[in-house]
Symmetry: C4
Subunit: 204 residues, 4 copies
C-alpha cells in the first residue's frame, strides 16, 4: 500500500487523460481517473472537466472515503474508485474509459459477463501468462446510485479474480499497481473488444 | 444573453475547427461554427474554408439576421445558426459536425427521429442527470432552402426539448451556453451514434 | 492552363502526402500526387517513396508526356496523371488515395460505377450545388498497363462529367483546379464512401 | 548479410514503435521489433515495454541465438525473430504488429492461411509486380512455446515464398531488408486486411 507524491500523480493523471482522449475513449466530460498517494490520500479528477484537456486544477485530493480534502468537487463515481483501492490494497491507479465499441458490445449482450478467450493480449492482464485461458469481464448494469454498482462488484469479488469490469451502456473500469499498469489493462481490454467486434463482423 | 469578445470567439472557433477536423467530422469545406458576441452580433465561419485550416480571416461578423457586418460572405446555413440563437437565448455557441457514422445512420433510418436511450453518455447533454431516460434526436430531411429546414425545427421546438438535431444525409447540429458545452454536446451525441452502430454490428 | 512555381508545388505535394498518410490513405509506398507548373511542366512524386515521409527529393519534374526532366524515376501511374491534365486543361493538381473502405467497396460491387446520391457532401465536388442529385463514380478494373486504364477513362469522359474515379482493388483518383480543391474532392468522396458503409452496416 | 550500427538501429526501432502505436497496432506491451547489426549481433526490444513509449533503454543487444549480450531481458518471442534472420539472410528488420482487424480475422477463419488476391497493394510486398496474383498469408496457431510456432514456420518455408505471417489470435509478423521495407510490409498487409473487412461488411 505504497503510493506516489501528489505532483507526480497530477502529471500522470493529466497525461492519461490526453492519451485516452487521443484514442476517442474520453469524450465530453466522461471518465474519471485516480491514483493512490504516499500519504494515504488519493488524487482524483474533478467533476465536469474534459479529460483530454485537464490542467492540474482538474485534479483534486480526496481521503479514503472519497471526501474532498481541498474543497474541489469529486466525480460522482468516486465511490467506485475508493472501493477498488479498498478491495485491492496493491492497486495504485484506477482508470475509467469509454469506447464506443466496448459500450456497444455491453449493450448488445444481455449476459452479466463477456468472455475474452484465447487472446494473446490476455497476457497484458496481471497474473496471466498464456493465451490458453479466458477472462470473464463482468458487465454490471448501470445505476446512478454508486452503492448499487459497488454492491454488485463487492459480490463479484467473492467469486472470481477481478481485473476490470464493464458497466452496461456506460464504460470500462480497469486498474493496476501503477498508472502504467492501469493503462495497459485498459488498452489491452479495449483492444480485445475491438478485435472481438472485427471477428464477429468478418465471421458473419 | 451574454456573449464574449470577437477575438476570443475567433480563437474558440479556429480551435473547434481543428478539433472537429482531427476527429474526421469536418471534411472538405463541410461545417460551420458560430458564437454569440457580447455586442449582440455573432462570429461565424466564412463560406468555403476548410474548417480544420481556419485562420482568423476565415471567421466573420454577422448581425442577428445573419447579414454580413464586415463584407465577408457567410455560410449558406447561417439562418440555421441564427434560428438557434433566437430560440434559445442562453445559447452562446453552435457547431455543425459531419461524421460518416451519424450521417450514415440518418440515411439508414426513415423515421423523423432517432432514440438514444439508457446511455450514461446522455448525461453530457444539458439538463440530463440519469441514464434512465431517452433523447429523441430529430432527423429532418435535407433541403437547400434553409427556411424549409428552419420551419421543421421551429415546429419541433413546440413539442420537445431540443439539444441537437440531425439533417438527413448531411450532418449534426449541436449547441451550448459556451463553446465547451457545444463541443460536449457534439462529441457526446456523435459518440452515442458510434456506440449504436457498434451495438448493431455486434448484435447481428 | 496556369500553374504554380516548382518550390510551391513541392511544398504542397509534401504537405498533401502527410495529410493523406495521417488519414491512413497513403499506406506503404502507395499513391502518387502531382501539380501543373507555371512553365508547362509538372511536379510529380518520385516512385517508391512513402508518401507520408516525402522530402523535396521525393518530388520530381516531368513534361506533358510524363518523361523525366531531372533524371529521377516517375511513378508507374504517371500516364494517368498526364491524361487528366490533358483532358481537363483547368486542372492544377491530381491526387490518388488508398482508403480501405473505398477499395473494399470497389471490390464488393461488380458494377462499373457507384452512385453517390442525396449526400450534402456532394456539394464539395466542383459544379454541384445541391444534394438533390447524384454522381456515378466510375469503377474501372485495375491493370498494370496504364494505357488500358487510360483508355477506359478516355471513353468515360465522352459520356459523363468526370470528377474522380476508382480503380477496382486499387484506389481513388481525384483532382481540382489547385491542390486545395483536389484535397476537397478526395476528402469528400472518401468521406461519402465511409458514410455509405456505415449506412449499409446499420441498415442490415 | 549486412546490417547497421547499434545507435541507428535503436533510433529506427524507437521510431517504428511510435509509428505502430500511433496506428493502434502496438497496444499495452504487445509487439517486439528487431534489426540486424553490422557486427553480426541484433538489436531487439526489451521485454515489457510499451512500444509506443520506448526509450533507448528499451532496446537491447542479442546474439544470433537470441541470448542477451548486455544483461537486459529479451522478449519471449525472440526466437521467432532469430528464425527469420536465419531463414532469410538478406532480412535486416523484423516487426510484429497487433491490429484488432487482422487478429479478429485470424480468429474468424479456421483455415491455415488467408488469401490476399488482386490487390494493387500486394505490390508493396518484395518481389510482387502485379495485382494479378495472390499471396496466401499463413495463419499459424498461437503457442506459448516459441519452438512450436517456429516449427510451423520452418515447415511452411519449404513450400512457399514467405513474406509475412499471422499468429492466430495474436498478431502479424513482417520483415524486410531494412526497417523501411519491414514497415511497408506490415502497413501493406494490415491495410489489405482492413480492406478485406470493409469489402465483407459491404458485400453482405
Amino acid at each position: 500500500m505504497s503510493g506516489i507524491g501528489y505532483q507526480d500523480a497530477v502529471d500522470a493523471i493529466v497525461a492519461a487523460g490526453r492519451w485516452l482522449d487521443g484514442k476517442g475513449w474520453a469524450p465530453a466530460t466522461a471518465g474519471n481517473y485516480s491514483m493512490r498517494l504516499d500519504d494515504g490520500a488519493f488524487a482524483l479528477t474533478v467533476s465536469g472537466w474534459h479529460k483530454g484537456r485537464l490542467s492540474p486544477d482538474g485534479v483534486m485530493r480526496v481521503d479514503a472515503d472519497g471526501l474532498s480534502l481541498d474543497g474541489k468537487k469529486p466525480s460522482a463515481e468516486t465511490a467506485l474508485h475508493m472501493q477498488i483501492y479498498r478491495l485491492f490494497p496493491d492497486v495504485g491507479a484506477v482508470l475509467h474509459s469509454h469506447s464506443p465499441i466496448s459500450v456497444g458490445i455491453s449493450r448488445a449482450v444481455s449476459a452479466d459477463s463477456y468472455r475474452l478467450e484465447r487472446h494473446e493480449m490476455l497476457k497484458v492482464l496481471p497474473g496471466i501468462t498464456t493465451h490458453e485461458t479466458f477472462v470473464d469481464v463482468p458487465i454490471v448494469d448501470n445505476a446512478q446510485d454508486m452503492s448499487v454498482i459497488a454492491a454488485r462488484i463487492e459480490w463479484l469479488v467473492e467469486s472470481r479474480e477481478l481485473r476490470a469490469y464493464l458497466i452496461r451502456g456506460h464504460g470500462l473500469y480497469g486498474w493496476g499497481r501503477d498508472m502504467a499498469e492501469a493503462e495497459r489493462v485498459i488498452e489491452g481490454v479495449e483492444w480485445m473488444f475491438a478485435a472481438e467486434l472485427a471477428e464477429k463482423e468478418f465471421r458473419r
